[in-house]
């Protein structure tokens, strides 16, 4: 079994001393995966997907979930094969040995985080915030990202305990929506048939694919778990279960939420709202204060924007530290010990992106960049099949990476 070290020559990591403690067990890793996936995307995009598909929003999310599983299996193979290697760029480096390809993959990952932060900032400035104060969406988004940048600069340490608290709050919000769905079904106050309706005037297949492409945004985050592979106990055994289990749990929550949304709220009303789940709370049969739910949603999108800006700034810092980006991005503030140049760059780019499009447009750009990354990951699986390691590892069915590539190209 895996002793935590690669014995092949394809990894430089085997020559490095053990630095991180393998403290993450199966359940904590499942929680980490669920926490990374579940969050702001579902709070912001249910209506946008409804505009693409019609009432059958859950069908688009189901397809997106199936598509995500193909690439998740590829990640599971690479992570369990190279449990000490960190991140997609490293797999690309091992597979292609071309520094420029590794750089562009890493930059695409960071760029997707920038687009995601911009999308979530716009979601913050939408209908959820209007429950408390009426300010222009772009102005609120710019102010939020400025504050997020200050927090990032101040030095936020993401401990597992805090992450658990964040996740619990976000999941509670979604479970409230599921509760509304259960009560609506049992009291007959909803319209379940609406959840099986598709937009008229366009091909159902095209509508579902378009909706799935957007729904994919709400499922991304599962790939972040590769970064903790080195801290996972017996990753060859635990990681695939946790990744696929976490993805399944998040997927089921999403299906229940989207079914409820369609059942309780008219699709046009959902589509025109920037706070679609707030419409569900407002129209639903359970008396939940709309301001309380808005607060949960605002917390979810703020947290998402913060995590994305932290990730992007650290990727830029890491690349500069490795000498593949100008060294100025590796500058660390003496007092705060944070990569201030990378943070300033990140925030300025996000501010520009906020002004370039609505939530849907920014989310689509996020997905597009990640689909490029996923293609590289799926191709890497095949390239690295020639590179054998002595320890046992997860092996995805060969058809999955092929489907992952085809689906990514298709979307």
């Amino acid at each position: 079994m895996d002793d935590g070290r690669d014995r092949n020559n394809g990894s430089q990591a085997s020559e490095q001393p053990e630095r991180l403690r393998r403290g993450i067990g199966q359940w904590l890793l499942i929680f980490f995966v669920v926490g990374d996936i579940v969050g702001a995307g579902i709070y912001a995009l249910v209506g946008q997907v409804g505009a693409q598909v019609g009432g059958a929003i859950w069908v688009a999310f189901l397809l997106a979930l199936i598509l995500a599983v193909f690439t998740a299996c590829s990640y599971a193979e690479l992570v369990t094969k190279y449990p000490r290697a960190g991140g997609t760029a490293t797999y690309a480096h091992n597979a292609f040995k071309v520094p420029f390809v590794s750089f562009m993959v890493a930059f695409a990952v960071a760029a997707s985080s920038l687009f995601s932060a911009a999308a979530l900032s716009r979601a913050f400035g939408g209908d959820y915030l209007k429950q408390f104060i009426d300010v222009p969406t772009v102005l609120a988004a710019l102010l939020l990202i400025f504050v997020v940048g200050l927090i990032n600069f101040w030095g936020i340490s993401e401990s597992v305990r805090i992450n658990v608290v964040f996740t619990i709050i976000e999941v509670i919000g979604l479970l409230l929506i599921v509760l509304i769905g259960i009560v609506a079904l049992s009291t007959g106050s909803g319209e379940p048939s609406r959840a099986f309706e598709f937009n008229e005037g366009s091909s159902v297949v095209v509508a579902i694919l378009a909706g799935a492409a957007l729904s994919f945004y709400a499922l991304i985050g599962f790939e972040d778990s590769v970064n903790v592979a080195e801290e996972t106990q017996n990753p060859s055994r635990i990681y695939p279960r946790a990744l696929l289990g976490g993805l399944l749990i998040a997927g089921v929550i999403y299906l229940l939420v989207t079914f409820t949304a369609s059942m309780v709220v008219d699709t046009q009303q959902l589509a025109s709202s920037t706070g679609p789940l707030l419409e569900v709370v407002r129209e639903g049969p359970v008396p939940i204060p709309t301001q309380l739910f808005s607060l949960i949603a605002l917390f979810a999108v703020t947290n998402g924007a913060l995590i994305n800006t932290i990730m992007a700034s650290r990727v830029f810092y890491g690349m500069a530290d490795q000498g593949v980006m100008p060294s100025i991005f590796a500058r660390v503030h003496r007092g705060r010990r944070t990569p201030w140049v990378s943070i300033v760059f990140t925030i300025l780019v996000v501010m520009i992106l906020i002004a370039t499009g609505d939530i849907g447009a920014l989310a689509r750009a996020t997905v597009l960049l990640l689909l490029f990354v996923f293609i590289v990951v799926n191709v890497s699986v095949f390239v690295l099949r020639r590179d054998r390691v002595e320890h046992q590892h997860f092996r995805t069915p060969s058809v999955f990476p092929i489907l992952g590539i085809l689906v990514s190209l298709g979307l």
Binding site: M104, L209, A361, L369, L411
Partner: protein, 42 residues
């Protein structure tokens, strides 16, 4: 499908172009510094 909207490609492409420029600048600066280093040693 939805990704085929020109604006989406334009947005993503523009940001990747920024990355390309940063990579190019870094590459050129490192080459210039590498060339200067032996000259300075002489």
């Amino acid at each position: 499908m939805t990704q085929q909207e020109g604006a989406t490609f334009l947005r993503a492409g523009a940001l990747l172009l920024v990355g390309l420029v940063l990579w190019g600048v870094n590459y050129l600066v490192k080459r210039i510094l590498d060339k200067r280093a032996p000259e300075a040693q002489r």
